[in-house]
Symmetry: C2
DNA sequence: GTTTCGATATCGACC
DNA sequence: GGTCGATGTCGAAAC
């Protein structure tokens, strides 16, 4: 680990170069301009920002506000650093798609380079759609009495159905799960699966489509009624509600 | 600006407390465990991570890999710092929805606090869907000869139509724009708008639905044909293609 | 590689 | 505050 307060740009360049070479995580804070050109294009005028360069090729530029970086480059990019016309220029670029991020520092308040230990295990998240699926498969009556799940991720030409099964009267049931409140997009998704199943099964028999989520918006409710689809309110498990 | 190498946890707490109080951007690098509980729940074992606390209440926890933070808290949260059982504990929490992020440092390699100047102007991005819309409105024949735009963001019960107009034969045209390659979701969106317009106009006359994007996936192409919708290939402008 | 869909999506606009 | 749709969405899994 090495860290420098108010370094000269040239000194910082040496530290950043060495940090990138040895696979460390590099941070910079200072006054810079940023330009991006690739899938879109953007420019950002001079100001103080925090820059994070990861050993996997990720680059992030953060201002004082917002969860998202104001500019970034995804993993797999190549970081380079150089002096140009008195400025410290950090570039991060990739091909496919061709895009380039250029950060031009005119002054620096801090630069650091840090060794990151391997992650022993990743983050484990509870409360996802997969958990909701498990919960429902273990307790099919949460959907309705007599529901029998037959398959998960059942493939159709329109995509994979979350849960596929039958109801107490033997009708086919298509279940689409969402871990949070749903809008029109989820209704359309469910409808595509029901339509696809009608075609594939070559049947005139009723196929029920049921959207399972904590709640539903008004416009989505209208869409559900319009297409004879149903809604069952169900929260993801393992939440301290 | 203040910056400390391998600070004691207690010294770091003082610097972080002061940085949060004065509205500075605070960074920490060290060995920590992270827990989150709220919309979902997650745990992350011990390891070296980079933590960024913004004056707007954003918290970000980054590992060596990935563009996205491994844990985070959105803007508007309240950051607090305290010592607990020999560890430096940073918490970030909010209500509505109730969620809390807890970062427990057992050691620190660096802590810093930086003043961020106001952004004189934000980032300006070129190549968005709005640019594609402007481009098409200025050159309607890019869609097809004889196309006449009548409105943008025309409201329907299903949502707003990107561009609404008529073709050379006076038929109503619904245009849905996407700045990048489209999948089935965009086709469903266009279909909802065309259906809504049929109902609202109380007409049996043909309404054409045209999806405009750089390209389209196979399954989306099938969906387009299935519902008698059309596709026109068009790139967003201002890209150096 | 492409395609598809989930996400603690985030973000902005509008109501 | 809720709703809706865009995003340089990101990320993973299936193919």
């Amino acid at each position: 680990m090495r860290s420098l307060e108010t370094p000269s740009l040239r000194t910082a360049m040496t530290l950043v170069t060495e940090g990138l070479r040895t696979g460390e995580l590099v941070t910079l804070f200072g006054c810079c301009r940023v330009e991006y050109d690739g899938r879109a294009a953007s420019t950002l005028g001079s100001g103080n920002r925090h820059v994070l360069l990861k050993p996997d090729g990720t680059a992030l530029v953060h201002t004082a506000t917002g969860q998202q970086p104001v500019n970034w480059q995804p993993p797999g990019c190549t970081h380079t650093v150089a002096m140009d016309e008195g400025a410290l220029v950090v570039t991060s670029e990739r091909e496919t798609p061709a895009e380039q991020l250029t950060i031009r520092f005119e002054s620096l308040e801090h630069v650091g380079s840090f060794q990151v230990t391997d992650e022993p295990e990743g983050v484990s998240v509870v409360g996802t759609e997969a958990d909701l699926s498990d919960h429902l498969l273990e307790n099919p009556s949460l959907l309705e009495s007599g529901f029998t799940p037959l398959a998960t991720e059942r493939e159709t030409t329109a995509g994979a159905i979350d849960i596929y099964g039958t109801d107490s009267e033997g009708r086919t049931v298509v279940v689409e799960l969402k871990r949070r409140r749903v809008g029109p997009d989820a209704v359309s998704q469910l409808r595509r699966y029901v339509d696809a199943l009608h075609r594939e099964l070559h049947t005139d028999a009723e196929i029920r489509g049921i959207l399972v989520a904590p709640s539903v918006t008004g416009r989505a409710t209208s869409l559900l009624e319009e297409h004879d689809l149903e809604f069952v309110a169900l929260e993801p498990p393992s939440r301290d509600v």
